[in-house]
Symmetry: C2
Subunit: 206 residues, 2 copies
């Protein structure tokens, strides 16, 4: 919902809305392409070929490969988190999100690519997107931790932002280990250990 018309131009009229619809269609096709094959070495040109869009058309809608990758991940994330709340607490929220990612390893790879690009000076769009994503996620999870502290479930001497950063980091890092060794690493089981520190509701373990 960050830009454009999420309805894909359904209610809007005219060439502007058509352009938005076309842009969203390209993003949707790219999501499918990435989910299947990952993003390694994908230039705008080869991606255009894969989804049947000319390089010129792709350049019309996206200024760079980075911009397309960011928009693809943003739309994917909005789609999978639509309606998801923090009802189960911070750990359960992140574990449920990791669970949804299991079905689409190509998009876990895309996220890893964006996060690594974000660390490099040459990728300002990825740096901005991933930096803002982490910041928002830390703030939301920290609120959930504070609620747990107010309810007496979580130790009061835990810094909520430290805890939020830890939960996000654990989930991100576990998904990388899981992709490399799906039979040895169980993202949910490892994450659930954090419920002992940050219980989301009174009926969780311990």
């Amino acid at each position: 919902m960050s830009d454009g018309d999420p309805s894909g131009g359904k209610h809007a009229r005219g060439p502007y809305s058509k352009g938005i619809a076309r842009r969203h269609q390209i993003i949707r096709n790219a999501i499918e392409e990435f989910a299947e094959r990952g993003v390694d070495g994908t230039s705008l040109r080869t991606l255009g070929e894969a989804i049947g869009v000319s390089h010129a058309t792709l350049r019309h809608y996206f200024a760079s490969r980075d911009e397309l990758l960011v928009e693809v991940y943003r739309e994917h994330e909005e789609r999978v988190t639509a309606g998801a709340g923090f009802e189960g607490g911070a750990v359960e929220t992140i574990a449920a999100s990791a669970e949804r990612n299991r079905a689409i390893p190509g998009l876990v790879r895309l996220y890893a690519t964006l996060a690594t690009d974000a660390l490099q000076e040459a990728h300002p769009i990825s740096t901005e997107f991933i930096g803002a994503r982490f910041r928002q996620l830390r703030a939301s999870l920290a609120d959930s931790i504070r609620e747990g502290q107010d309810a007496g479930r979580i130790a009061p001497d835990i810094d909520p932002v430290d805890a939020a950063a830890l939960i996000i980091a654990a989930s991100d890092g576990l998904q990388v280990q899981w992709l490399l060794a799906p039979d040895e690493v169980d993202v949910r089981r490892s994450l659930t250990l954090l419920e002992r520190l940050f219980p989301g509701s009174s009926d969780t373990s311990r």
Copy 2:
């Protein structure tokens, strides 16, 4: 110590040892180069230019960019972890390693690049290296967790490998968040929360 002569040919003789010494010298120069500038977009050619080695020479010692990156990280890690043990427990071991990385953000970036490459089919050398590294690290930390369970410090119903994967993941993920927001993320403080679940010795918090 995984290959070649770690003494840089000091005790060996002849052209073979000279070749090994030269290879190690190139790796050492590359470590300095990466520590300063990171690795983004670094081809074997541009890296050769940066460290004053011809492309042909570099190709003589390293079959590919991936092989050089892996060898650089391997040597760096052996260097910084030399003599480091598990005395403080699993969490302290990983926190101390993350602490050492603070001084060399370029090598944290290199690690992120290797881990992301490892997820892609086109990088078998990185996949092999990072996969083996995670496996070994999980095994070592799981042993440390088991010791804590035997000593009665760590809850007996915790799966040691789940715990090990969680600690490694937290450290990896926190370093990424820290690079993007060094004033908002404190790797050691967040990791130390895990000491409450996996205390390394009786005198740690809680």
